[in-house]
Amino acid sequence: MKSYLEPNYIVERDDERCIRCKVCVNQCTYETHYYDPEDDAVYSHDENCVNCHRCVVFCPTQALTIRPNPCTYTANANWTHEAIRALKEQAETGGVMITGMGCDKPHYTYWDRLLLNASQVTNPSIDPLREPMELRTYLGAKPDRLAVDVVDGEVALTTQLTPQVCLETPILFSAISYGATSFNVHEALARAATESGTLFNTGEGGLDHRLYPYGDHTIVQVASGRFGVHPAYLDVGAAIEIKIGQGAKPGIGGHLPGEKVGPAISKTRMIPVGTDAFSPAPQHDIYSIEDLRQLIYALKEATDYTKPVSVKIAAVHNSAAIASGMVRAGADIIALDGVRGGTGAAPKTNRDNVGIPIELALASVDQRLRDEGIRNRASVIAAGGIKSSADVAKAIALGADAVYIGTAALVAMGCTVCQKCYTGKCPWGIAATDPWIAKRLNPDIATRRLVNLLQAWSWELKEIMGGMGINAIESLRGNRLHLRGVRLTDTELRVLGVKLAGE
């Protein structure tokens, strides 16, 4: 069948600059560039280009520019170029449209309509370069009160806290599975988390035994497919996370094609080489909140109550009530993943239309847990499209204890959010397990880039807090008086629990 699809991008090559070095030819995993020895020239198959910029960055003479194809369909507010293209694609394939990364639509972002506060006159701002500024955060259940005994003038605690994990900055690496990404990606995340005093999350594909030394900075995930879940895996992590849902595809399980399952991934996931790893949509032992409680306690029993258990859900319409149930079921941490949360592969229609923005979900969950007097009993991690330290500060002010970053971490390593992770050909060597591609990601360099990102954001958080006159993150957490909204309706302000700017 003749395809009616036109190239999305046009590759422009400045022939005067091109030195025929063929770096672009070798770097492009989509075979966009090719060298013609007869002409001694490099040409491109524009229809293959995904706009990942690998060739642009590595071209030694800056000869390349990628442009969106200016040839678009007749302008139409309803039948947009994107809609027409999707229709043609489906008419040709008869399949579900698959995509990677998080929802790319503009209208779900609230962070940019929230503004932060600063001290002026009545209380002093604090200079984080000269004075202490504290970001340390503990995740896990906190008691509603402490009991102490005074013996011979010494205070002794009689309340024992349940296990918690300590973060030196309130930013964790979100679940990114081994298999969706390469070993080098996992290694870089593990090393960067360790060096930065935070945690990374294995995602649902288990943990390669070579990374066990980083266990104290690892959240081991238990998802519906149970890939790679065994006693040693549960024991090695600092915390366990039950994955119920993911913001990019609420109600849908993970999906790893057999082509990506090589020997090492096969061993870690405990499945035969080359088999597809499809996680069931639900956890088949959790059809109710009571079932969740059983799994939470099964995991706590299995690890002798030595580590907190997190439950991750996609932010959906009824998140607040669900979160309340999760806390009562024994979850020590609630991870909420909003509609902009990323993925390696998801049906595009679900990604762009299912779930709710993290800002609204976080605000309503935090308030609901407070209304019920159980907010102390679990920490809340917000996830899904957090792209800057300002978003982190706003999430914490809305009520999060910490945030997960996935896409932002991948971007730090080289990702350009081209949304083609599901092809397994990521030219940056991130969402790829083919050894020839995966080796492009140097774990030493990727670790350094991740550590730098966390350091930069942490400094920026300190600058924001210092400006507010706050020198400990716990005084920002849930402190919505430091937020004001702009361009928001009364109802949006009510759900977010913030005032309008100027009020």
Binding site: V150, G153, V155, L161, G469, A472, R477
Partner: protein, 376 residues
Amino acid sequence: MGWSAVNNRYGDDKVFDACSLFGMMNLKGQRFSGKDPVKAMMNMHDRGNGLGAGFAVYGLYPDYKDDYALHVMYMNRDAKRATDKYIKERFEVHVDEEVPTRAANVRDPPLVWRYFVQPRRDKRVDQHPDDYVLENVMHINTRTGNAFVFSSGKDMAVFKGVGFPEDIAQHFCLDEYEGYLWTCHSRFPTNTPGWWGGAHPFNVLDWTVVHNGELSSYGINRRYLEMYGYRCTMQTDTEVLAYAFDLLIRRHHLPMEVVAQILAPPFWDEIDEEPPQRRQLLTTLRRTYGSLLMNGPFTIIVAHQGEMIGLTDRIKLRPLAAGVKGDILYLSSEEAAIDLVARGLNRMWRPKGGELVVGRLGDRGMGEPLLREVNV
């Protein structure tokens, strides 16, 4: 142009942004009049701007010392009618009377009434009388919007309003009262309107707080306390301090020294250097009660029956001086105010940021370090 003592050619109206605090306690429990506290406050006149002042006096009503003394501000007569009825339904009222006042330089004083009461016997059997009183105070304060119980302890009272300290003292005839412990406040309101209910001290049961500063953490302090049933109605951040003390000391039974480590905790770097047991205590306190860290500049003088406490924020962004002469402990925003009323102190010091000063009935005075009940 005539001679002028000031540089400003356009009038000498410069203002100094601050509040003033003063506390004075006889550690033997001997009662004294409001003369010295008012004099000390007048010395710090420039720290306030006439938009609020107040006093808390302990050992005030020996004749009714077992009754809760509810002091209520009424903004109109309707509110009084409704509230009178409510109080009589919920309490046995032994005495109720208008709080005596006299002519003074104050504007629009509300009607202030006091009731000496006991909870009705039909209250829930399992409920502590304090909880019953607190619940009803919260109810009255949120009910009409025009009636505010601003003092509800036993054998103590708060007197406060819009004016300079000497005006409020004159209005409420404070020279005619005696107590063994006085705390005082003069206000320079910034974030909230100057209104009679918004003046300090803030009170819940017999706890009072006077506060200089601004809590940048107010938003979360308030939301945390709301989980424990407290409702903030006084339109000012100081209220959360009063509720925090009530929660931590009366309801959670934590010693004052522990409470200080919650409100103004050491930095993590300092905690990490402590020996294991103390490190575990401090870490657990911050993990559990982090939402009650009072962040931003503050100095507070907190009092309840038998105890007066001074505390600043952990980086001491507001002043506090302490002094002892004989049996009397003084706390003040400025040393000069202490010096004015107590020449020849036995001891004078400036507490460090987050360092607690506690005076307790029965403590030895005479320049020796004040006794501490517990070490934290």
